[in-house]
Symmetry: C2
Subunit: 298 residues, 2 copies
């Protein structure tokens, strides 16, 4: 017998099968199944962000399992919440897919989203599923704050630039996949990034003056932070580059979802200093201006 | 000179051009441009819902303007918030589109989303834009509550069934479009539904025991409400059907985003009684069981 598809079980069958796999949490006043979910944010402030992943652009079904795609789709959003100094509470997921999508693929995707969310105590509270020619996964994360949120625009000359998590591994893994290498730690890093979620709130508590998620490449994302803050960034290759990683991957590679922040005082454990905020503009490595990174539609 | 496309301006150019058109509101502590938005919900409860619209499934570019698609995409979500008894505060929008999408199409889409959201005082606080083969628009609405939220599961035998807004007009308009009629009030109702947003909170305040949005067809959505409540619904054709509308469109047609609710006391002005909650199960019209409506992947 053929594997059941989305078409075989229909929209409501698919939603019921997915929903049955999803735990809820004390913050969820109403979970999936009604017109909308209701979630508690006792502080009265909600951090909200959306990321969209497209088959053939952000993932390939022959390179990544549905479970890994789910982990990665959740990670991109949870990291954005962490980059504000917040912690995600709830996810909403829109899945557009062809009717011949195997039901098991959708269930594995849900499991991946669920398990990545569980790393920060978040749960999936709602979503939508529709027909499309190509798989498009839209994830919205809602999070809470324990203190002030951290913008990109607060960096000031003289402050340290610190990195939480790793950069360059996802890009290196993608190149290996393109070359035909399907196993190994770098390939795994591309399939399933491991953002340092806890270090977002920790950096906020340590007085980070600016912070962002590295999703489009360190140079590009730091460039946005520098522009928003009206400063320059001097990176030091001896502090940043790692043996075994191509400098281009470290500087330009996206999708690792590391966090980069600026601050005056000591950084929390797990972060490392990679440079300094200076007067001026743009990003420099050992004094040389660097530009580049990933941009959609280019 | 050719019209500029998404590819011409790039992801960041597109985001900047869209963001420049978007007002913010007092509830928005941080709008678009950082890793995430921050929105104030003083009550500490957030109503959250996601809907996805796909080109060729939910809309056609030769039948609807981008502005109308934006109105409709926002309406589907704002109505879901209203169906809980809430009022939307903020939208997040994911846009997946081909690189040759005219920039003006994306701007008109944003204007439509913005103007529909403005009807309830909501604003667009964030989003994402990525490459895809087909246009996929994912909208998440976040809303606040002034009192208890209204589930689908609270209907009890003996209560009235009331309708806020109109049903059947979008389906009638869609049939006219398929037949080649491109102008007229029913066609407009398909392109741009007009949900009765204010009546959601009004029905909640009037003691509605169950409520839902009519997005997949009155019979199907009432069927879900009946099943969740463990009751039957008796509709009366003399109260429900309208001259000039096909009974099938009224009963089965989706996408009008009317609200249907059950309650004991008098309904707010603007609602009309269309039937009664009874013991049993399923939906009947003048005593005859009716089933049907729109389901994706079927």
């Amino acid at each position: 017998m053929a594997e059941p598809t989305a078409r075989d079980v229909g929209e409501f069958g698919l939603i019921a099968a997915v929903t049955a796999r999803l735990p809820q949490s004390a913050a969820v006043l109403l979970g999936p199944g009604d017109d909308a979910a209701v979630v508690s944010f006792p502080d009265g402030r909600v951090v909200a962000t959306t990321d969209v992943l497209v088959e053939g652009v952000h993932f390939r079904r022959d390179w990544s399992t549905a479970y890994d795609v789910g982990r990665k789709a959740a990670a991109a959003n949870l990291a954005d919440v962490a980059a504000m100094g917040g912690t995600a509470t709830a996810l909403l997921v829109g899945l557009a897919s062809p009717g011949d999508l195997p039901l098991q693929w959708a269930l594995d995707l849900a499991d991946g989203l669920r398990d990545e969310a569980a790393l920060v105590g978040a749960v999936i509270v709602g979503g939508d599923t529709v027909k499309a020619d190509q798989i498009v996964i839209s994830v919205t994360a809602l999070g809470s704050l324990a203190g002030p949120f951290v913008l990109r625009s607060g960096a000031r000359a003289g402050q340290q630039v610190v990195l939480a998590g790793q950069v360059g591994r996802s890009a290196a893994g993608l190149r290996l996949l393109i070359e035909g290498t399907l196993v190994g730690p770098l390939v795994d890093a591309h399939r399933r990034p491991t953002p340092p979620y806890d270090l977002g709130p920790a950096l906020a508590a340590a007085g980070a003056t600016a912070m962002c998620d590295v999703s489009d490449g360190l140079v590009q994302d730091l460039g946005h932070l520098a522009a928003a803050s009206g400063v320059g960034i001097d990176l030091v290759s001896a502090l940043l580059l790692e043996e075994g990683l191509d400098p281009d991957d470290v500087l330009m590679g996206g999708e690792d979802h590391a966090l980069v922040a600026t601050l005056t005082g000591p950084a929390p454990e797990g972060c490392r200093v990679i440079g300094r905020v200076v007067a001026g503009e743009g990003v420099r490595l050992d004094g040389q201006r660097v530009v580049g990174g990933w941009e959609h539609h280019r």
